[in-house]
């Protein structure tokens, strides 16, 4: 640290984004408070803890699970998780015979209300390409070995559909409350790169 009080120089992209904000605010199109609130909302309210509640309820309540698989958007909205990138939700169920894996090959479509913002690897070219081309090998490298007799279905998220994997309920959890079940559901299991 030096003694001068000049702010550190901004990276070009950082300066550009600041310039875009500055111009839009100056023109009265956006206001800084709204942007602050949106950022806060992402940080506080969105994340895999929401998706975990959906999964735990589906495991605990067969009629909810039925609604969830029939109309993911509506069933998830029942729990209050809706908003941008949460429209057109499709929930795909893992079974002993089928393992589901979610990717967005073209950009980074991802269900924000239930999973938050995508992790870095989800947006990486390697994941986006290999999830489709060689999902079994990719999953094994990520530490998830899918038995050879289990079919892997890969779902490419888009503006038309955002996918959420309903993992299989692990053995030995029959007595668990919904709250405890939610605590064992991970983000990665709802993307399909992990089995619980």
């Amino acid at each position: 640290m030096t003694a001068d009080h000049h702010p550190a120089e901004l990276a070009p992209i950082e300066a550009r984004v600041a310039a875009i904000e500055s111009v839009l605010v100056e023109r009265g199109i956006l206001d800084t408070d709204t942007l602050d609130q949106i950022v806060q909302h992402f940080e506080d309210n969105l994340g895999p803890m929401n998706g975990a509640k959906v999964v735990a309820l589906a495991w605990s309540d067969p009629s909810y699970k039925e609604r969830l698989l029939a109309d993911g958007t509506a069933a998830i909205a029942e729990l209050g998780f809706d908003g941008p990138q949460g429209e057109l939700m499709v929930v795909v169920e893992n079974t002993p015979d089928v393992h589901n894996l979610v990717v967005c090959t073209l950009c980074s479509c991802y269900p924000w209300p239930t999973l938050g913002l995508p992790p870095k690897w989800y947006k990486a070219p390697a994941y986006r390409a290999r999830a489709v081309r060689e999902p079994r090998e990719l999953l094994a490298e990520m530490g998830t070995v899918i038995p050879a007799d289990v079919e892997i279905r890969v779902w490419d998220s888009s503006a038309e559909a955002r996918y959420l994997v309903l993992p299989m309920r692990p053995d030995g959890t029959a007595d668990m409350s919904e709250e405890r079940l939610a605590a064992i559901v991970t983000r990665d299991s709802m993307i399909g790169v992990q089995r619980l």
């Binding site: 901004l10 984004v17 023109r27 199109i29 956006l30 975990a52 941008p84 950009c107 913002l117 503006a159």
Partner: protein, 96 residues
């Protein structure tokens, strides 16, 4: 699960991984979301540009593509010009 309940790693939304590497990335995301909403545009108005930018430079860091898509959107919507962005004064807000 390790450590104190309030350490970074235990925040469930992070799942062991930071979502944003720097505050400007959160800002860039919020600008796109708010702008699309405010102008009543479909999310595709932004998303298709993001796809293009990613395809154009697949190895570029993700949020740099996001920033490029944002710039192309605001310029094409005639909300500003590249020259105006070059000349823009920093906002009064604390450093990004």
């Amino acid at each position: 699960m390790t450590g104190a309940p309030l350490d970074d790693a235990s925040l469930p939304r992070d799942n062991g991984e930071l979502v944003f590497e720097a505050p400007w990335q959160a800002r860039a995301l919020a600008i796109a979301v708010t702008l699309v909403d405010k102008l009543g545009l479909p999310w595709d108005a932004f998303r298709l540009r993001l796809m293009d930018e990613i395809a154009k430079a697949p190895q570029r860091p993700y949020y740099e593509s996001w920033g490029a898509a944002l710039e192309s959107m605001v310029v094409d919507l005639d909300l500003t010009t590249p020259a105006a962005l070059d000349a823009a004064a920093p906002t009064a807000r604390a450093p990004l």
